[in-house]
């Protein structure tokens, strides 16, 4: 092993997409080198490894780059077969999990719309997010009829990772925007699942510094009020 299995992650502290990859690698017990990218000044390495989209995360395995967080998660699961599985084995279950992974991922499109100076547009976007969370809640009830999975008793799977990296990030958006996104009464399963995940050491150590992230999101709001083009650039980081 050793040099045969060199794994590098090009990432950024604020990116929920990078978090997904970090959690997957840690769950599998894969050692990796983390390289922090300054997204306002992208490195030659990032431009070399992701010339098409120039985004993080990029997983570089033995010098070969894999881009796009969801593609990376599947790659990790298929490459490191020993140890916990991120996806189920049964083809129908895999299809069902992939469906919800995609659904959670697409939540971010709706979340991005919240960052607008237009109050009416924000109201509309919030309704859209609430509706999608309702659908997610119903969908998860079907997957977990006994209630949220006991995350302390098992290794993280891909839905746990998506939940904490994506939905788990909503709290910071709530504070930055001054709106309520996730409701414990409306989304009890989702809410309790995210809470339980947040207690896990592997999640705590991967969480970005809260105050620093709030400050960044608040400045995103300011930028959007002043400069739409610049705002779009920053929004792309999170959504």
């Amino acid at each position: 092993m050793g040099e045969e299995n060199k794994v590098i992650v090009l990432g950024n502290w604020s990116s929920p997409f990078v978090k997904r990859v970090e959690l997957a690698l840690k769950t599998k017990g894969i050692r990796f080198e983390y390289v922090e990218e300054d997204l306002s000044n992208k490195s030659a390495l990032l431009l070399k490894y992701n010339p098409v989209h120039k985004k993080v995360p990029v997983l570089v395995h033995n010098g070969k780059p894999v881009c796009e967080s969801l593609v990376i998660l599947e790659y990790i699961d298929e490459t490191w077969q020993n140890g916990p599985h991120l996806l189920p084995k049964d083809p129908y279950e895999r299809a069902r999990v992939r469906f919800w992974v995609a659904y959670i991922h697409q939540l971010l499109d709706s979340m991005a719309k919240l960052y607008t100076p237009d109050k009416e547009a924000q109201e509309k976007a919030l309704k859209e997010v609430h509706e999608k969370l309702r659908v997610l809640e119903d969908g998860m009830k079907e997957n977990f009829p006994g209630g949220s999975p006991d995350v302390r008793a098992k290794k993280l799977e891909i839905l746990d990772i998506m939940m904490i990296a994506t939905v788990g990030s909503f709290k910071t958006h709530e504070e930055a925007l001054g709106v309520q996104i996730l409701h414990p009464e409306r989304n009890p399963l989702t809410f309790s699942w995210v809470q339980a995940l947040n207690e896990l050491p592997v999640v705590k150590e991967s969480n970005p510094p809260y105050e620093k992230l709030i400050a960044l999101l608040q400045s995103l709001k300011e930028i959007l009020l002043g400069n739409k083009k610049l705002g779009k650039m920053y929004t792309a980081r999170f959504f």
Partner: protein, 219 residues
């Protein structure tokens, strides 16, 4: 055996064509059910309550939605014949990445070409050609995106070829002259029976686009 396989689809749907091709490649017998879009049947709402879209693959009564998810499902269940995804994880990752590129770029830009006007349409046309050129670059000298063998990305992309006539007519431009390598690849794919039998007639696709334009109030 194969079990009961139903494909809930619409003739002109490029996403439905993906699954038709895959099922044909695997030699799977299935029942084809046509949705009369833009009207949607109660059965569709029942099988795909969240997105309410075609195609839906229904295997032994269990629905699988989203064409790329269903494509992977077909490849995994009927893995013995004509595998679509390569076995190497790195090559699989590349295939998934390019299939996602097709959805993010070719599909979305194509839709703008027939549904937008003026500057937005012009921008979409330009970006569409750029996207095809990126794909041409990825194809390189290979016969297929999958290499020597027809594969996942080829299946994901080829249905859009049947929409070129509609894009060209709505956008008043020519695609083939700007992307000859793409056309050469597409014609190679069309030589496969699974493809030629699954792709919709370009004239009928254009007729369908006219119905959509009317339905969405786009002139």
């Amino acid at each position: 055996m194969d079990g009961e396989v139903i494909l809930l689809d619409a003739y002109a749907s490029m996403f439905g064509m993906r699954l038709r091709i895959a099922l044909a490649e695997k030699g799977v017998k299935y029942e084809y059910r046509e949705e009369n879009l833009p009207k949607k049947s109660p059965f569709l709402f029942q099988m795909n309550p969240i997105h309410k879209k075609v195609p839906v693959l229904i295997h032994n009564g269990k629905p699988i939605c989203e064409s790329l998810i269903a494509l992977q499902y077909i490849d995994e269940v009927w893995h013995d014949k004509n595998p679509l995804l390569p076995s190497d994880p790195y090559k699989r990752a590349q295939a998934r990445l390019w299939a996602d590129f097709v959805d993010q770029k070719v599909h979305i830009l194509g839709r703008k070409i027939w549904s937008a006007k003026g500057e937005e349409q012009e921008a979409a046309k330009k970006e569409f050609i750029e996207a095809l050129k990126v794909l041409e670059g990825e194809l390189g000298e290979k016969p297929y995106f999958g290499g020597e063998e027809f594969g996942y990305v080829d299946v994901a992309l080829i249905p859009f070829y049947s929409w070129f006539h509609a894009y060209e007519t709505c956008g008043n431009f020519k695609i083939g002259t700007q992307c000859p390598k793409f056309v050469a690849w597409a014609k190679r794919c069309m030589q496969r029976e699974s493809v030629s039998k699954s792709l919709a007639d370009p004239e009928k696709v254009y007729d369908f686009v006219l119905i959509l334009k009317k339905h969405f109030g786009v002139e």
